[in-house]
């Protein structure tokens, strides 16, 4: 694992992000169902995490090191299109399969399902449960003296769930320095602005008040993402990376528009989006 990232690598990662964004849009268009807004807001972070930071093995159990892998939980399971696109890129399955997304009989269920897709640690979709699952994994890894990290990816609307804060206290109480949580601060939820629906407020201060380390970043800046993850890995406390992001990032008419939370683009909209990304 490298601790520094070059200009050249950043360019490469950005190119991959473009491809992943296109795949996300094509999957959702093909399914005529899915969640583009929150998938596009988290994809740069998933890209850096999966391609540069996380210890993981797309061949799963076939790799003897599998038990020492870092764990990833997509707590905001509705961003499944983003997860599947980065998993396909990393070789968990063939990219052609992406077009089965949300279709009958597909391994790519609407929300991630560990029973049908290898590499998914646990099924998610119902918000507010991932961080607590992550605490359990982190405790288990510590019991077994396995030096791996547990990454949990949450939405900012998701932290309105009280169960998130039960888990935040759990991680701090048990000194789970092997947990790194992302909060995708795109500031929008289905019914509009997070501050209008239920003020999420100062997320950083909230986590700090609960005894966590925090790092606030631009969640679309590759270098900031990378540096934040490296720093979080060396934290002596559970660490929350508050990522300021743009819902629908990369597609002008989707950006900062809550209407694109759970809506599929039509043929024309897809073409327009793909043109923008080319």
């Amino acid at each position: 694992m490298i601790d520094q990232i070059s200009e050249l690598e950043i360019k490469d990662i950005e190119e991959v992000s473009k491809k992943l964004r296109k795949n996300i849009l094509m999957m959702i268009h093909n399914a005529q169902s899915g969640h583009p807004g929150g998938s596009l807001s988290c994809i740069d972070i998933l890209n850096v995490l999966f391609t540069k930071c996380m210890k993981h093995y797309p061949e799963c159990e076939l790799n003897p090191e599998y038990k020492n892998r870092d764990r990833f939980i997509l707590s905001k399971g509705h961003a499944s299109a983003a997860l599947y696109s980065i998993m396909a890129h990393c070789g968990y399955f063939k990219e052609e399969e992406l077009l089965t997304f949300r279709k009958f009989g597909s391994k790519l269920q609407g929300h991630p399902c560990c029973k049908v897709l290898k590499g998914i640690e646990i099924s998610t979709g119902s918000l507010g449960q991932g961080l607590s699952i992550g605490c359990g994994m982190a405790l288990g890894l510590k019991l077994d003296k396995i030096d791996s990290k547990v990454y949990v990816y949450m939405g900012d609307g998701e932290i309105e769930e009280g169960s998130v804060w039960e888990a935040v206290m759990n991680a701090a109480h048990n000194n789970l320095d092997n947990i790194i949580a992302f909060v995708d601060r795109n500031k929008l939820q289905i019914d509009g602005s997070t501050e209008k629906v239920k003020s999420v407020g100062n997320v950083k201060a909230k986590f700090e008040a609960f005894g966590w380390d925090t790092i606030e970043i631009d969640g679309h800046n590759i270098l900031e993402i990378y540096n934040a993850i490296i720093k979080a890995k060396n934290s002596s406390k559970p660490c929350a990376i508050i990522a300021n992001t743009i819902k629908g990032k990369g597609v002008s008419f989707m950006e900062n528009n809550a209407g694109w939370h759970g809506k599929a683009p039509n043929d024309e909209e897809l073409q327009k989006a793909l043109d923008e990304l080319n």
Binding site: S126, I133, G136, L139, N174
Partner: protein, 311 residues
């Protein structure tokens, strides 16, 4: 009748300690009720494998889920109300959907919670747990059956819900008893009616059958510790024999054992069934004994009702 009453909860705690000694993967979680649930016995012996998550039942269930993902076998305890109610969706969407190896040993099920009153009396837990795919549901009737059910759960791969009573219960089974999760057991053979029960109402049903016998009614008693999966064969065979079934449970008549029996018989061998339990109502404060009498679940009240039913 002179009977020796045993704490089923402390039997649970002791069994956990036994299991913990032979299997280092056993971990135990509680939500600030470790004295009430008796998981404190395990906590004392294996502090590094005990996690008290505080008053956070949702976190309790999903933390156990995470531990099971790393190969641990978590036993999770709190009151039945909170394990099955507060955290239902965690149980459904995280434990059962992913078919995780988590054991929920919930204490204080049913009306016999007593003095704490309706807010703490889980009369719906079996219904709630039974309706979730992948879940196995067990309601043991005494200390021995509890011990064996816990040991079974530790060896079985998949989610299990075990309801452990708050009350001390008299011994019904001895160490010759063999708990088999695929089998209901016939406690007494009879030809006139079939009484189907489990948990705390088994001893009342046994005593009720004695009263009925004095009145010339020969009741068959079937103990169904495993509500799901149900032992269809034993139940259907008994229904064929007596053609009259009465279910008795320390639970609402909606969705529990009685409902499970009705679902089975209505499809496979339509038989008249009467469900006895709490009706569509909440409980109240009182001693366990007073409440069992008030809700018609003690031997005398059961005998009265059943005599009336089959006249």
């Amino acid at each position: 009748m002179n009977r020796e009453y045993k704490s089923v909860r402390s039997e649970y705690g002791k069994t956990l300690v036994e299991l913990g000694k032979v299997n280092k993967d056993i971990v135990v979680l509680d939500a600030d009720l470790s004295s009430s649930t008796q998981t404190k016995l395990f906590a004392k012996e294996f502090p590094e494998r005990f996690f008290n998550v505080g008053i956070s039942e949702q976190d309790l269930i999903t933390t156990a889920a995470g531990l099971s993902c790393t190969g641990k076998i978590p036993f999770v305890s709190t009151f039945a109300m909170f394990a099955s109610g507060r955290a239902w969706e965690q149980v459904r969407n995280t434990i059962c959907y992913s078919n995780l190896n988590v054991k929920i040993a919930a204490t204080h099920g049913g009306i016999t919670v007593g003095e704490d009153g309706a807010s703490h009396q889980a009369l719906e837990d079996i219904s709630l747990m039974r309706s979730i795919p992948n879940m196995t549901v067990i309601v043991p009737a005494d200390a021995e059956e509890t011990r064996q059910a816990i040991k079974f759960a530790a060896e079985f791969n998949g989610p299990v819900y075990i309801r452990i009573s708050r009350s001390n219960l008299p011994d019904i089974f001895d160490s010759n008893y063999k708990f088999d999760y695929k089998k209901a057991n016939i406690i007494k053979e009879g030809k006139d009616i079939t009484l189907i029960t489990n948990g705390e109402t088994l001893v009342e049903t046994i005593d009720c059958a004695k009263i009925l016998s004095e009145k010339g009614i020969d009741a068959e008693i079937i103990n169904v510790p495993v509500v799901k999966p149900l032992d269809n064969e034993t139940i259907i065979n008994s229904a064929k024999k007596t053609n009259r079934v009465i279910t008795i449970e320390n639970h609402s008549i909606i969705g529990g054992l009685g409902s499970a029996i009705c679902e089975l018989l209505s499809e496979k061998y339509p038989t008249k069934v009467t469900r006895i339990g709490t009706n569509d109502e909440f409980g109240q404060s009182g001693t366990a004994k007073e409440l069992m009498a008030f809700y018609g679940l003690n031997a005398e009240k059961l005998a009265q009702k059943i005599t009336g039913l089959i006249k």
